[in-house]
Structures are given as C-alpha cells and as structure tokens.
C-alpha cells in the first residue's frame, strides 16, 4: 500500500510540476530557478492533493488499520521529489 500511495503522489506531483514549469519556461531564461520552484511547489501541491484525494475516497482508514504513518510518508515523498532536481541538474 506504500507503493500505491507513492504511485499516486508521483502522478499528482508530476501534473502540478508540469503545470508550474512548462508555461513559465517560455517566459524565463533562468531554467534552474523555474525547475527548483516547480519541484518545490509541485511536490507540495502533490502532497496536499494526494492527502485530500485519499480523504475524499475514504482510503485513509485502510492505512490507519495497516499502521502506515501517512504524514511521515508524504513528507518523505516530498523530500524525495525535491532530490530529483539534483538528478537532472547535470543535464541543464
């Protein structure tokens, strides 16, 4: 179930990231800044939306039953999402 949560987090964050990066890149020559901002806010909005989506679909009780620490996992996923910038940095 942790992988399921990760999968949803990545999808949501990627959508927010794309929305926050593709449009501003056309108007800015500072690619690094736009990407860092995109990863930060994309990851943050992704975590918030994933939490909201799971609450709306009543999935959190299953995670509570399995004793999966949801807040900690979302924080870790957010941190992991930020580290993606370090991975792509040599190529920009």
């Amino acid at each position: 179930m942790i992988l399921y949560l990760l999968q949803k987090y990545v999808i949501h964050s990627a959508v927010f990231f794309a929305a926050l990066v593709i449009f501003p890149l056309g108007f800015s020559d500072n690619t690094g800044y736009v990407l860092v901002r995109g990863f930060f806010f994309g990851g943050l909005l992704g975590a918030g939306y994933t939490f909201y989506d799971f609450r709306k679909r009543n999935l959190w009780p299953l995670y509570d039953n399995l004793r999966v620490p949801k807040y900690l996992l979302l924080c870790l996923f957010f941190a992991g999402f930020q580290s993606l910038y370090l991975v792509i940095k040599p190529f920009i």
Partner: protein, 207 residues
C-alpha cells in the same frame, strides 16, 4: 458558525471475547461514535480507554495497535487488484486460503460486488489480529449467504478472545450475533444488556 451536537455524554464498554452491538435510528450518531473510538474524528470532550490506556486525542498509532476499524463506506482503493492488496499485508498466504478470497483474487476491487468488498475488508481486519474490531454496518448491502459467512467469522473471532463492537440496521442479524447491546437515542447510550431481541421488538426496531 452553526453547530450540531450529535453525542452528549454517551459512553459504552466493549469487552474482549464478546460481541457488543450499537443499535439506533438513522442519524442517531452510531457511526460518529465509531469514528470517535477509531480516532477518525476528534470529540470535543471525552476519552477512549483501551485496556487501561487513556487516549485523549486522535492518537492513531496508539489506537491502531489494538483496534481494527471498518468504516461505513468502503476503504479499498478501486484501482488495485485483490491479490496486490493482500500481498501488502503481513502473512498474506493465510488470507489467500479463504475460499471466497481465492475466487476474487485476480479481480480489481472496483469489479467486486458490495458484499464481496465488505467480506474482503472484514477478512483483512480480522487477519490483522487486533484485540478489538470496530465494524460499522458490515451487513448493509450484503447478500444473506455472505452475511452468514460474516456472522460465522465474527463469532469465531469473539470466541478466540477478540472484542467486537458493531453497528448495523439489520437488527435481526445483530441480535443473533451480539452478546450485549446499547441503544443510541437522544445523543445518549442506553445499556440493553444481553438477549435484547425482545426489547428491540417492543421498541419497534424489528418485527
């Protein structure tokens, strides 16, 4: 801001090895009481005591060491296969041996009927081996043959020493399986004691 008081001074006690039922009309606060006990919502006042440990806040990690909670609405992700879901549990082979689960294991949860979903959720909770299980409407929308299986499971788990707290509108089944019960009325809990089927008939809860 408008406020609605759902429960006021309500209390109940569920013991290990016994099935305790909560009976009440629609909107009487049964599910709210379950949610408070499971830490899904925080009561404005009051505490939950689990085996002497007093829990004031939601304290999910502490609560779920001892309890399993079946919410009124399905808690299963719709786009996941039953097999994958079960593999994420400890000791999944044991659960896979269940005949009904074997039948549905290659299906996605969205493809399951309401009864199969309810059975799977209940089986997962019992499999987690918690001391107390809270079941919010486990029989609603479930066909009688699956209800019989659920009743057998509930009885077996209670005999093995687990405390079961359940609520449902299927009063005939509830009075069949429960050792003791409480009536939730006017935001308060009233102890019905054991063998409360006659009491419920008198009050018009079932014929």
């Amino acid at each position: 801001m408008p406020q609605l008081s759902i429960l006021d001074g309500a209390w109940l006690k569920a013991e290990a090895g016994r099935v305790t039922a909560i009976i009440g009309r629609n909107g009487s606060g049964k599910s709210t009481l379950m949610k408070v006990a499971a830490g899904q919502i925080k009561a404005m006042a009051g505490i939950t005591i689990i085996d002497g440990e007093r829990l004031h806040g939601r304290s999910l990690q502490k609560r779920f060491r001892n309890i399993g909670y079946l919410p009124q609405d399905s808690m299963l992700p719709p786009d996941i296969k039953v097999k994958r879901l079960i593999k994420s549990l400890p000791d999944p082979e044991k659960l896979m041996d269940d005949p009904l689960i074997q039948k549905i294991r290659h299906q996605k949860t969205i493809q399951l009927s309401g009864g199969e979903k309810r059975y799977l959720e209940t089986a997962i909770l019992f499999h987690l081996n918690r001391k107390y299980i809270l079941l919010d409407e486990p029989f609603t929308g479930v066909e009688p043959s699956i209800i019989d299986l659920l009743i057998q499971k509930i009885r077996k788990e209670a005999r093995s020493g687990k405390g079961i707290l359940l609520t449902d509108h299927m009063h005939r089944y509830i009075s069949e399986v429960a050792d003791t019960g409480y009536l939730l009325h006017n935001r308060q809990c009233y102890d019905l004691g054991g063998g409360f089927s006659g009491e419920l008939k008198k009050m018009g809860y079932h014929r």
